[in-house]
């Protein structure tokens, strides 16, 4: 690891990262990547002293400060009651120790767990070193994307929390030297295209200040299910965040977001559209997710994800249709 400076930010205005500086949340991702030689910042600006407040907003929604620890969000009574899908998604991630450290801002900005990206000494990676090539393509792709990948990069975004936030139509409030703005979560992550090194639409000198969620129409009738290689403390092969409301037995509102399948949480808009206004029988759910999967492009090592997404989605939604919102 190269020598590094360390400073605590006193306010949001004090926290716009200068060139070669990186914001430091819990450090659970950044410290690891510095040690692996993937990141070499000149300085670390600790932003854990900024707002960690979790507060109800006037429109029935919730605003969560970027410095809130993952464990604090999952344990918060309003999150558990109004957004159980978000609490469950956070609790599905990492371990209790890591969730105590990890912040909401850091969780959104964490880098891919692609092993070739992390292997700075031995592997080519267009995300880490643009233009160098991608050793994942043709390599071990069990954890890689089936949607939205490019010939340059097939990495996935590893966050569980972000998948629930995508289903909940969250917005990311950011600040920079030019002022503040709000980015819908749906526009926060970029697909790799020919610039896999550019992962989000956050500017290099901007900081995430908070995450806001509108009121949720389906507290009870929502779920987060994660499928992984061991029962706990493992990244998702596939995960499904879903919520549904029915009117007269017919789907009124439905949200389906998939994790472990793309460089961003994958909102299954096609499946949602297909389901809305229908009776959510097993066959209807199956047809809807199958329509979504028609655009999937699996790699030789992850074709199993097609069937896994299909079955997990059917299982989650068929359970939810019997649950009152």
């Amino acid at each position: 690891m190269n020598p590094v400076q360390y400073r605590r930010a006193e306010s949001v205005e004090d926290a716009f990262p200068g060139a070669q500086w990186r914001l430091l949340g819990g450090g659970t991702n950044l410290v690891d990547l510095m040690r692996k030689g993937v990141e070499h910042p000149a300085g670390l600006l600790d932003v854990t002293g900024l707002s960690e407040e979790i507060a109800a907003s006037d429109d029935g929604g919730l605003v969560i400060g970027a410095a809130a620890r993952n464990s604090a969000v999952a344990a918060h009574p309003l999150v558990r009651r109004r957004y159980p899908m978000l609490a469950r998604a956070i609790l599905a991630g990492a371990s209790a120790q890591i969730r105590n450290m990890a912040t909401v801002g850091g969780n959104l900005m964490q880098r891919t767990r692609c092993a070739y990206f992390a292997d700075a000494a031995g592997s080519r990676c267009n995300k880490r070193a643009p233009g160098s090539g991608c050793d994942a393509i043709g390599g071990f792709t069990r954890y890689h994307a089936i949607f939205g990948a490019s010939p340059e990069c097939v990495a996935t975004h590893p966050s569980d929390m972000a998948v629930a936030l995508a289903a909940l139509d969250a917005r990311v409030n950011v600040a920079g030297p030019g002022g503040t703005r709000t980015i819908p979560l749906a526009e926060f992550y970029r697909l790799p295209g020919d610039r896999p090194d550019l992962e989000t639409t956050l500017g290099a000198d901007e900081i995430i200040v908070s995450v806001a969620m509108p009121a949720s129409p389906f507290a009870g009738a929502s779920a987060y299910r994660k499928v992984r290689d061991r029962a706990s403390y493992a990244f998702a092969l596939v995960s499904v965040a879903a919520g549904v409301t029915l009117r007269d037995g017919v789907v009124d509102d439905v949200r389906i977001a998939l994790g472990g399948v793309a460089a961003r949480p994958w909102r299954a808009l096609r499946a949602e559209e297909t389901l809305r206004g229908t009776r959510p029988t097993d066959e209807a759910i199956d047809a809807a997710i199958t329509a979504e999967l028609a655009s999937a492009e699996p790699l030789p090592g992850n074709e199993f994800k097609i069937e896994l997404v299909r079955r997990t989605t059917v299982a989650v939604l068929s359970e939810l249709r019997g649950t009152p919102a």
Binding site: L24, T28, V31, A94, A96, I98, N100, M101
Partner: protein
């Protein structure tokens, strides 16, 4: 700002790269905290900061300035230690300090009603001390000797018997 380690104030290292783990072991010679993977994947380095369990390998010592760090040396003596011995919660013992620090904090989390991924009703105010709950909540601490069954027994004994 000093770091309080087991009640004693110490100055953070000059070099901001030093992890809390390396500071504890190499600078303060508190070698009860173990180095396993040094990348967040095993839990051997678990310590408490302000009473909450964290991984000292991914914490920079600088981040702990102004905070209270408790290591296994600071918890000693703890009822979990005897329970681990009685219930065969260890073989080689390498993961044990991390297991005990994690378990001590975990018992407090359950008592405070903090849910886990396997908690059926997330809106419930209290959660049970079941085997499944303990297994899920301790999943961040691996044991290469495979003493997990004994570890869960020991924790359940201490938690149910309210010895803590």
């Amino acid at each position: 700002m000093d770091i309080t380690v087991n009640g004693t104030a110490v100055a953070p290292p000059d070099d901001a790269r030093v992890s809390l783990l390396d500071m504890l072991r190499d600078h303060l010679h508190l070698t009860g905290t173990k180095v396993g993977c040094n990348q967040g994947a095993c839990g051997a380095c678990t310590v408490l900061i302000d009473g909450r369990r964290v991984l000292s390998c991914l914490t920079l010592a600088a981040q702990a300035a102004g905070r209270e760090v408790t290591t296994i040396e600071g918890l000693d003596p703890h009822p979990l230690q005897a329970a681990f011995v009685e219930r065969d919660g260890l073989q080689c013992g390498y993961c044990t300090p991390g297991q005990i620090c994690a378990a001590a904090a975990m018992i407090d989390e359950v008592r405070a009603g903090v849910p886990s991924y396997v908690t059926a009703d997330l809106s419930a105010e209290s959660v049970p001390f079941s085997r499944d709950e303990v297994r899920e909540r301790m999943s961040g601490n691996l044991c290469r000797c495979g003493a997990h069954n004994g570890i869960v027994d020991a924790i359940l004994e201490v938690a149910d018997g309210s010895t803590v």
